[in-house]
């Protein structure tokens, strides 16, 4: 479990003046805390950082610097302009990142990005997402029923954290109910870290093919869902399939990991969990605090299109800035006692959904899913607890989205 070929020397910049590399090893301390060296008290909101290809760019760790970079149009999200902060599996030695494939609007700037974003934002409004709460409740209880039947001792990731958001995104995109097992199987393989690259590649292709077939079906016979709506837009077939893939990946892996890791965090902080149980009205606040405290989607990279001054520091055109969401969310200037999980605090203003024009499109859906799912889980299983010692819970410390690989839990049967 301690295998980490890119173990960074996080002290280099202090002792020799050499740029540091991005600290990524969360395992050294508490599984919920950022890697050592990332949020160490530092009077420099931006520091020099060495990238995977040798590029000397920047690392932004303060809340103010992170917001400034992410909301400034002089910074680009285009993949081909970015240097990778750490080597990506399968992309070792790569000096240039390929441009976004059709429909992958995460890697585009305005006005191209705006074209996609405007097609989608109306489908993800606060009001629309709140109207889905009842459906989320239905899916949540289905999963809890199955969990109760199967246990005690189940893997919470497989039984609960993964299926709840998967069922909801199927419904939103318009994946037929009868097809969802097939669909979920492929998706699970794509995100399964224990499956090899070939199997994941094949599953990814299968998801693409699946969405392609689905798009064709929606075009022939539109139903009341997002993909059907999009078939009437000006998106090309390729773009449409790409958008479907982005929505699927973004909607599944992120919320699933928040549900898994969030449950682990609450079980590890019984005082906080008791407070939530005593007052379910704290659910929304708890979700915000878990988002801040866990920062599962991290980091975010941007490239300067021109010389830009950020927090008194000049970033030159062409330089990549890696924004550490974890560090920004643990900035003591913004959140007092940042390393404490405190569901009574107002964690509003955290950057876990990013900031600027790319701020998460599905954030209101994620909020509704979590606000429904966490209280329902703890209400159904009042004695829920880990079935293994906490240090044996396997962590996704080599993935883009942090979380638990599995979370064995148990409870007392009535």
């Amino acid at each position: 479990m301690s295998y980490n070929p890119t173990a960074p020397d996080t002290t280099a910049d202090r002792t020799t003046g050499e740029p540091a590399t991005l600290p990524t090893d969360r395992r050294t301390g508490c599984p919920f805390d950022p890697p050592a060296g990332l949020t160490a008290p530092d009077d420099r909101p931006l520091r020099r950082m060495r990238y995977a290809d040798g590029h000397i760019g920047w690392l932004a760790t303060s809340h103010a610097a992170a917001r400034a970079v992410l909301s400034d149009p002089r910074f680009s999200a285009r993949y081909e302009l970015l240097h990778l902060p750490v080597p990506m599996p399968g992309m070792e030695g790569m000096t240039q990142v390929p441009p976004a494939s059709p429909g992958d609007f995460l890697g585009l700037d305005a006005p191209e990005h705006t074209r996609f974003r405007r097609l989608l934002t109306g489908k993800f409004t606060v009001r629309r997402m709140r109207q889905l709460a009842e459906r989320v409740e239905g899916f949540t209880h289905e999963c809890l029923d199955a969990m109760e039947q199967a246990g005690p001792v189940v893997d919470l990731v497989e039984a609960f954290a993964r299926p709840v958001p998967a069922l909801m995104i199927c419904e939103l995109l318009g994946v037929p109910y009868a097809d969802r097992d097939r669909f979920q199987g492929h998706v699970a393989t794509v995100f399964d870290q224990t499956s090899d690259a070939e199997a994941r590649g094949a599953a990814f292709a299968a998801v693409g093919q699946f969405i392609g077939e689905l798009v064709a079906a929606k075009r022939a016979e539109p139903t009341d869902d997002l993909l059907s709506d999009l078939t009437t837009s000006d998106l090309t077939e390729e773009e449409l399939i790409g958008v479907g893939g982005v929505l699927l990946a973004a909607g599944l892996d992120t919320t699933a990991n928040m549900l898994g890791l969030g449950t682990f965090a609450l079980l590890s902080n019984p005082g906080q969990l008791d407070a939530l149980r005593a007052d379910p009205g704290l659910a929304e606040q708890t979700v915000e605090e878990l988002l801040r405290y866990l920062s599962v989607a991290d980091p975010i990279a941007r490239a300067a299109l021109e010389d830009v001054e950020i927090e008194g520091q000049l970033v030159r055109a062409g330089e990549t800035v890696t924004v550490s969401v974890q560090a920004a969310n643990r900035d003591p200037l913004k959140f007092p006692e940042p390393d404490r999980l405190d569901i009574h605090r107002r964690a509003t203003g955290h950057l876990s959904f990013g900031h600027g024009p790319h701020q998460c499109l599905g954030q209101q859906l994620a909020r509704v899913e979590m606000t429904v799912a966490f209280p329902a889980l703890f209400a159904r299983f009042p004695t829920l607890r880990l079935a293994v010692p906490p240090q044996e819970v396997p962590l996704r410390d080599r993935a883009n989205i942090y979380g638990v690989i599995s979370l064995p839990v148990t409870w007392d049967k009535e």
Partner: protein
């Protein structure tokens, strides 16, 4: 901190808006989103005293700086 009794006039820039919904989430009495594009809709350009703090917070949270806080006109009684 701003004076809670101070009047507040709001403006929104729908061209800048990215439809993230932070305003409708934070100050639902003041902001909404339209159903077509999810862009900001300003319900109350001069929010009631009880809603001003939320409106200011929404302006601060907006990822696209699409909410404009107008300083009260000093010549305005």
């Amino acid at each position: 901190m701003s004076d809670p009794n101070e009047r507040l006039r709001l403006g929104v820039d729908r061209d800048r808006c990215v439809g993230a919904g932070m305003c409708a989430l934070t100050a639902p009495e003041v902001f909404d989103q339209d159903d077509d594009e999810g862009l900001v809709v300003l319900l109350h350009p001069e929010p009631a005293p009880g809603h001003r703090a939320a409106a200011r917070m929404a302006a601060g949270l907006c990822p696209a700086r699409a909410i404009i806080l107008h300083s009260p006109d000093p010549t305005d009684p």
